[in-house]
């Protein structure tokens, strides 16, 4: 199976270290990019499309972030996703929030493939890499 490219968007620096370790262990991903908030990630995505760089297969997205949070990021890239024909990006929410509203909102969102509650486990990563 081809290894996947993954972007992690989260403002928690410790989580970022942990997720890197987990990704390394899972051995399902060959490319990892980390971003501290939605704005950084959306800029990178736009730049990637423009320069025809390789785009991620999977994005792990936190909700609570400064500057641009998860929902704002989804709004920002909505147009980009719809214009993308030859590539599908699976976006998963990874949040420590166990608030039911957040889960519902994520399920209802057409461009969100799933909702993961922290802590993220190796099994979670295996599942989303399928």
């Amino acid at each position: 199976m081809r290894k996947k490219s993954i972007w992690v968007i989260d403002d928690d620096s410790i989580f970022k270290i942990i997720i890197q370790k987990l990704i390394a262990r899972s051995d399902k991903f060959d490319n990892v990019n980390l971003f501290s908030n939605g704005e950084e990630a959306s800029l990178a995505l736009k730049k990637g499309i423009k320069n025809k760089e390789e785009l991620p297969d999977i994005i792990l997205l936190d909700i609570e972030m400064p500057i641009m949070n998860g929902w704002e990021f989804m709004n920002e890239i909505n147009v980009l996703l719809s214009e993308m024909v030859d590539k599908t990006i699976k976006i998963f929410i990874s949040s420590s929030s166990i608030t039911f509203e957040d889960k519902l909102k994520a399920d209802a969102h057409p461009n969100i493939s799933g909702y993961l509650t922290k802590p993220i486990t190796l099994e979670d990563l295996d599942k989303i890499a399928l």
Binding site: I14, F15, L22
Partner: protein
């Protein structure tokens, strides 16, 4: 002047028949006037006739005289004929004859009917040699003179020599043998002059000359332009010498007739006018008579009517002796009311049937009547009937003065009306009124009634004194009392609402505050019924209930509700914070432990343990923060002190001295030295520290930073305002989040998102408010409202 019986009868006859009398007068007068006019007309007519006859006579005579002269001339001419039948010296004799007779134009000698001699010849040449006996025009008339053997004047006709004229021919016989004619020619114009026709005043008359035409046998008229003959406008005479008829014609024959007609008309008019006036005059007494009869009838009727009214009146009427009080005359109703017969009552005086309590009143009033102080009086009094029942009556008494043959007689006229029923009803009404009033006064609310348009109260129950302190009289003494005593904040709204509902005739129900007499505010619920008359609001009735206590409870309840809602919100927020912020740490811990357990690399394990320490520190910090928040929210007994604001600002600035210096920030502290506020000292420290440190942290690096601090009051609020010219906050995006926990708007490493959350909680706990205004990259202003 006394008229005898017959004269009176005659006059009366006229007065009785005014129309006929007027007509008779008219007829008589018009007959007389017309007769006079007619007589005058006749006389004038006769006079005119005489005048015309006389004139005609003169003219006729003149003409005849001329003709006679002509005869003399022709005779003279004839005498010039000698025995041989030849005229001697015709021309010289003719000349002399013409000179002596101015009326003729020419002389002729006509032997055997043929004109042989003419003088003057000039102008008459054409006639020379004319054989008149063989001329159709002349023959008949010539022969006529021969036959009569007299001079005969032929014509007038067109003369052969020209012009119109007459020819007088004298047949001449010599030795009894017809010789011929001696003739004169008279031209028409000359005849008219010589006859005097022309000289007669022709303004009134004109003349006409006629002759029976010998050939046609018709009458020929010779003067042209003359007035036409009518039956009556002429007088005529006959002149045998020429068979002429001379007329004198009245030019103005109609004047007399017109005059007569006009006079007749005037006469009729005058007669009619007089007749009409007479009619009016004759009519007058008849009208008077009618009036008198009418008046008399009316008097009789009135008397009957009054008699009937007196007898059949539905009220009792009595006539009493003023001194004794005895009844002189009573009507049926009076007897019926008191139960006595007429005779029985006439034996009594009013004293004996009057209730003793009312008797004094009667006596006093009768005295006043007698002394002329009053004209009449009315009282409600009680009488005893024959059966001993008491009845209530409305009594009206007046003094009645009868003038009988110069002696005055004074009596009393009493009118009584049975009001027993009414009295009973009145008593019932009064009782029920008392009942209603006492009922109204027991109601725990102010019952009222007012005019729907003016809002002028006409009733307010006594309860008003208990509830608002005003007496009912105070309330009713001013037209606008209600409006004037509504609490000023409620007044406009309430009056408008009430007017709108009233206009729609809708019952309504509203709450407002009124200022009580002691100055306190009383909450009232006013339940209003609109009473309509002809589909229009006529009056308002309602009840005002004191709901001050209810209102207070309601307010407390509202406050409690708001508090609970707010606390619930905070609790929800708090639970969210806990779930999110605590879980982010615990999930990290759980992940790290998982990694530590599964790693075989010692170095990696140590690294993880280091991370675990960091997470645990963060968790600790979060818990401390949460603890602080919980402390703020649950601390119900905060100490509030009077603190000097400036000192506290200075304190905060001292703590932040290092950062201020580092960032080269100018602090502009505009708060006066003596400003003091009531606040919890620790909160004030924390609030000032948090906001100023935020302002420093988010200062713009590309320009000189200034932070200014002000204190001022606005309406009822005291405000501390801290303003910077830093990077600002996008409030469009972040308005809801700015005072939230762990909300940061930058990637600054030291942005924790806890400072403003705590500040907000502290300000709220002190009963104030905090707001923010900002413009991206220009400035941010925080305003702290102090209660």
């Amino acid at each position: 002047m006394r008229l005898n019986k017959n004269e009176y009868k005659l006059v009366n006859w006229f007065f009785n028949k005014p129309k006929l009398s007027g007509f008779i007068v008219f007829t008589c007068l018009s007959s007389i006037f017309i007769y006079i006019a007619f007589q005058k007309y006749q006389i004038d007519k006769e006079n005119k006739r005489v005048e015309m006859s006389n004139t005609l006579k003169v003219i006729t005579q003149n003409i005849e005289q001329s003709l006679k002269n002509c005869y003399t001339t022709t005779l003279s001419l004839a005498l010039t004929i000698n025995d041989e039948g030849i005229p001697q010296d015709f021309n010289s004799i003719g000349k002399r004859l013409l000179e002596s007779n101015s009326s003729i134009n020419a002389v002729q000698m006509v032997p055997n009917g043929v004109i042989k001699y003419i003088y003057p010849m000039k102008g008459n040449e054409a006639a020379m040699g004319l054989d008149i006996l063989n001329s159709k025009l002349h023959r008949d008339e010539a022969i006529k003179s021969v036959q009569t053997q007299k001079m005969y004047f032929a014509g007038p006709f067109e003369l052969t020599q020209g012009g119109k004229g007459i020819v007088g021919r004298l047949p001449v016989y010599i030795k009894n043998k017809f010789w011929g004619f001696s003739a004169v020619v008279i031209k028409m114009d000359r005849l008219l002059v010589s006859s005097g026709i022309n000289s007669i005043n022709n303004k009134n008359y004109c003349f006409q000359l006629s002759k029976i035409n010998p050939i046609t046998k018709k009458e020929d008229f010779f003067i042209p332009k003359a007035i036409k003959l009518t039956q009556n406008n002429f007088v005529s005479s006959y002149i045998p010498d020429g068979d002429w008829k001379l007329y004198i014609i009245d030019k103005n024959s109609n004047i007399l007739l017109d005059e007569f007609r006009f006079k007749t008309f005037i006469a009729l008019l005058v007669a009619f006018t007089i007749g009409y006036f007479m009619f009016l005059l004759f009519k007058k007494p008849e009208e008077m008579q009618l009036l008198i009869e009418e008046q008399a009838n009316r008097l009789i009727n009135n008397e009957l009517k009054f008699k009937a009214i007196f007898e059949q009146a539905a009220i009792g009427i009595a006539n009493l002796d003023v001194e004794t009080g005895r009844f002189i005359e009573v009507n049926e109703k009076f007897c019926e009311l008191l139960g006595y017969t007429e005779n029985e009552i006439k034996e009594k005086d009013f004293h004996s049937i009057t209730h003793p309590e009312d008797f004094k009143k009667d006596i006093e009033n009768i005295d006043k009547l007698k002394n002329g102080i009053i004209d009449q009086y009315s009282v409600e009094k009680r009488y005893f009937t024959k059966e001993g029942r008491t009845i209530w009556a409305y009594l009206t008494v007046a003094l009645f003065v009868e003038n009988n043959n110069d002696s005055k007689k004074t009596t009393l006229i009493s009118i009584i009306e049975d009001i027993t029923e009414r009295k009973k009803n009145e008593e019932l009404v009064i009782n029920s009124q008392h009942k209603i009033e006492s009922l109204i006064n027991t109601i725990d609310g102010i019952v009222w009634e007012c005019n729907a348009q003016t809002l002028e109260f006409n009733f307010i129950s006594k309860k008003v004194e208990d509830i608002l302190g005003y007496t009912a009289n105070e309330w009713l003494s001013s037209i606008t009392f209600w409006e004037d005593h509504i609490y000023h904040e409620d007044r406009e709204k309430i009056v408008k609402f009430c007017a709108e509902k009233t206009a729609e005739s809708l019952n309504h129900d509203f709450e407002y505050r009124m200022v009580a007499k002691d100055g306190t505010l009383v909450w009232l619920r006013d339940i209003v019924n609109v009473i309509t008359k002809n589909n229009k609001a006529d009056s308002l009735r309602g009840i005002m209930i004191n709901i001050t206590k209810t209102k207070e409870i309601e307010n407390d309840l509202n406050n409690s509700f708001n508090l609970v809602t707010e606390q619930n919100q905070r609790l929800l927020n708090f639970s969210y914070i806990i779930s999110h912020n605590l879980r982010s740490h615990t999930s990290n811990i759980s992940s790290l432990i998982g990694l530590i357990e599964t790693t075989e690399n010692d170095k990696e394990r140590e690294e993880m343990i280091e991370l675990l320490k960091t997470v645990s520190n963060s968790l600790n910090e979060t818990l401390l923060n949460l603890n602080e928040v919980v402390n703020i929210q649950t601390n119900l007994t905060l100490t509030i002190e009077k603190i000097n604001l400036k000192n506290y600002i200075e304190g905060a600035l001292k703590v932040l001295k290092k950062q201020i210096k580092l960032n080269d920030i100018t602090i502009d502290n505009l708060v006066c030295d003596d400003v003091e506020v009531n606040y919890n000292p620790a909160y004030m420290e924390s609030i000032l520290y948090n906001i100023i440190s935020n302002a420093i942290r988010y200062s713009a690096k590309d320009r000189k930073s200034i932070i200014s601090i002000r204190y001022y009051t606005e309406e009822d609020s005291k405000i501390i305002e801290i303003s910077d010219n830093g990077i600002g906050i996008d409030l469009k995006k972040n308005k809801d989040k700015i005072f939230g926990m762990y909300k940061t708007f930058s990637n600054y490493a030291d942005s924790k998102g806890i400072g403003l959350f705590i500040t907000k909680n502290q300000v709220d706990a002190m009963g104030g408010n905090i707001v923010v205004e900002s413009e991206l990259n220009v400035r941010t202003t925080f305003k702290i409202y102090i209660k």
